[in-house]
């Protein structure tokens, strides 16, 4: 089974800095991390490879060359090949342009039985790249997936979360699935994979190496949305009370304080 996982490198929310002038998030390479939900998607891919060891797991990322260090972390987890789509003309792509660019990259790379994405990225939060990507590729898709189990080489059993309910599906490949954050525990790296990652260089794809891409549909020019305003949300009515640990009476005070907010 050939599995492709889309992994975005996002800014660590604890270290995020905004640029009001350009209405964008400052992308300091040192503060990049792999999008958590995408790692949950990758974990499902690696579990399928555990079941079917002949499977190949690829990752596809889109971003600046500075993303390479974070992409090596995917190799540490057991990815066979990691690919980075990197071209200055992609800068400023919104979700729609990103989906289009990723679909062109995937079609250039070859056929995949299963494409996995995280449901949403920490920075964009649109959740529309996976469905759009499936539409561009012309394959079936399911979102909000919380479990994936391979039934055989051509069929998966998947569980989708719908509000407070779980729906079980059997899906034929090829399919694109978007995975909810925290739907599994992402594994630790193995030493041998980490040693491999030391010298590993991700495959770099430029737009020139993609088949039939329309450059007018990518970057700022090809984006259908623009950011009108970017501002930090003020948290109002926030108060904090500190209780020294200790007596039962103090614990009662904490319980009373919490109950006031329920």
């Amino acid at each position: 089974m050939n599995i492709l996982v889309c992994v975005k490198q996002v800014i660590d929310p604890d270290k995020i800095e905004y640029s009001p002038a350009t209405k964008t998030v400052k992308r300091n390479p040192q503060h990049l991390m792999n999008n958590p939900a995408d790692l949950n998607a990758l974990e499902f891919a690696l579990r399928i490879k555990d079941t079917f060891p002949d499977s190949r797991v690829y990752t596809l990322s889109m971003g600046a060359l500075e993303c390479k260090e974070r992409i090596k972390e995917l190799v540490e987890l057991g990815v066979d090949e990691a690919i980075l789509l990197s071209d200055k003309r992609l800068a400023g792509s919104d979700a729609s342009a990103t989906s289009y660019a990723l679909s062109c990259a995937i079609e250039s790379l070859g056929k995949f039985d299963l494409i996995l994405c995280g449901e949403h990225s920490l920075d964009g939060e649109t959740s529309i790249v996976p469905p759009q990507l499936a539409e561009y590729l012309g394959i079936c898709h399911l979102t909000s997936i919380v479990d994936i189990k391979p039934k055989d080489q051509n069929t998966l059993e998947v569980v989708k979360k719908i509000e407070n309910a779980l729906a079980r599906f059997e899906v034929k490949l090829p399919v694109l699935l978007s995975v909810k954050k925290d739907s599994n525990s992402v594994r630790f790296p193995k030493l041998s994979f980490m040693i491999r990652a030391l010298l590993y260089e991700p495959m770099i794809l430029s737009l020139d190496s993609l088949k039939d891409i329309d450059v007018k549909r990518i970057g700022l020019e090809g984006s259908k949305t623009t950011v009108d305003e970017f501002k930090e949300e003020k948290i109002e009515n926030f108060s904090c009370e500190i209780f020294e640990q200790g007596s039962f009476k103090e614990i009662e005070c904490i319980v009373d304080a919490v109950l006031k907010y329920i």
Binding site: R187, F188, P189, K190, L191, S192, M194, I195, L198, Q245
Partner: protein, 381 residues
Amino acid sequence: MDYFLSEEQKVIKRLAKRISDEVISKVAGKYDKEGIFPRDILDLLAYTELTGVYIPKEYGGFGGGVMEMCLVVEELSRNCAGIAVSYAATALGAYPIMLYGTQEQKEKYLTKIAKGEAIAAFALTEADAGSDVSNIKTVAEKNGDFYILNGNKHWITNGGEADIYVVFAVTDKSKGPRGISAFIVEKGYEGFYFGKKEDKMGIRASSTTELVFENCKVPKENLLGREGTGFIIAMKTFDRTRPGVAAMAVGIAQGAYEHALKYAKERVQFGQPLSSFQAIQHMLADMYINIEAARALLYSTCKMIDSGAKDYTKESSACKVFASDVAMKVTIDAVQIMGGNGYVKDYPVEKMMRDAKVTQIFEGANQIQRNIIASEIVKEL
């Protein structure tokens, strides 16, 4: 301080640190309190392939040496020395096989240890033979294709949990230390039982038990080295594994220092953080100096051993003594800096102080180590 570790060594340290911080730190208190053997953590170390860092590649290991083993032990010990010693005790059981095992013994046992499929232990100490190794009473008599072992071993780390035990027994009482032999004994052998489990002050996540041999039948091919070489096997093993105790001590000290430093920066007294008081600053500075000195001595000794040096007995003992004394001093100071909060079990430094104590005691008490060092330096005159 930068110790110019190789890229591969940095990877090992980073992986062990991650497991220590993300997994061990969360269970250390519970495992210590309830005396839970860390089978799940050892399984994780096996999955991540850290169980094989010091085992040769031909037996499925990473092919590293004492340095690689110590880097893992140090990082695990930053959060729980009890868990770290469960890992390190396997190395103590594996080294005699690496140093003196036959090809068949190495293939049979080291491959399992490297993959984490087997835990090992080292069984030398007896009720009347701790530092006085030559006084062991366990005997092994050859009987056809077997050796028959009778006797008791005390304070055996990984006792009851390990699958493979390197056991020392007297095969010829008339020869004194030259009459001791070493055997590989598997869990489940006829006549091999586990006795009392110790209720210890520290390293409570590790298992420490008595081993009982009652007409235990050990196949003759499980003799390690030749008959009568047991004492040398034990001493040569200790030369290689004492740095593991030093690594444990450095890790405990580092963990305690980190907690004390964080606390000193957060805890406010007289309107300012503890870290602004010079009395506390000097204590923190001394902790840092001692830890770095211990680590420098440890890493230098590891490099010396792994370089293929022939004699490193005094260096091995010196790093064990120095690092364990540093761990004791640093953890006591960490408790002092944290005051009442250091003395109660809500913070981990109380546990670290208890854990540190054993590093001055086991694998040769520090007094015996000083005897060894003195003997070596006097010989060199």
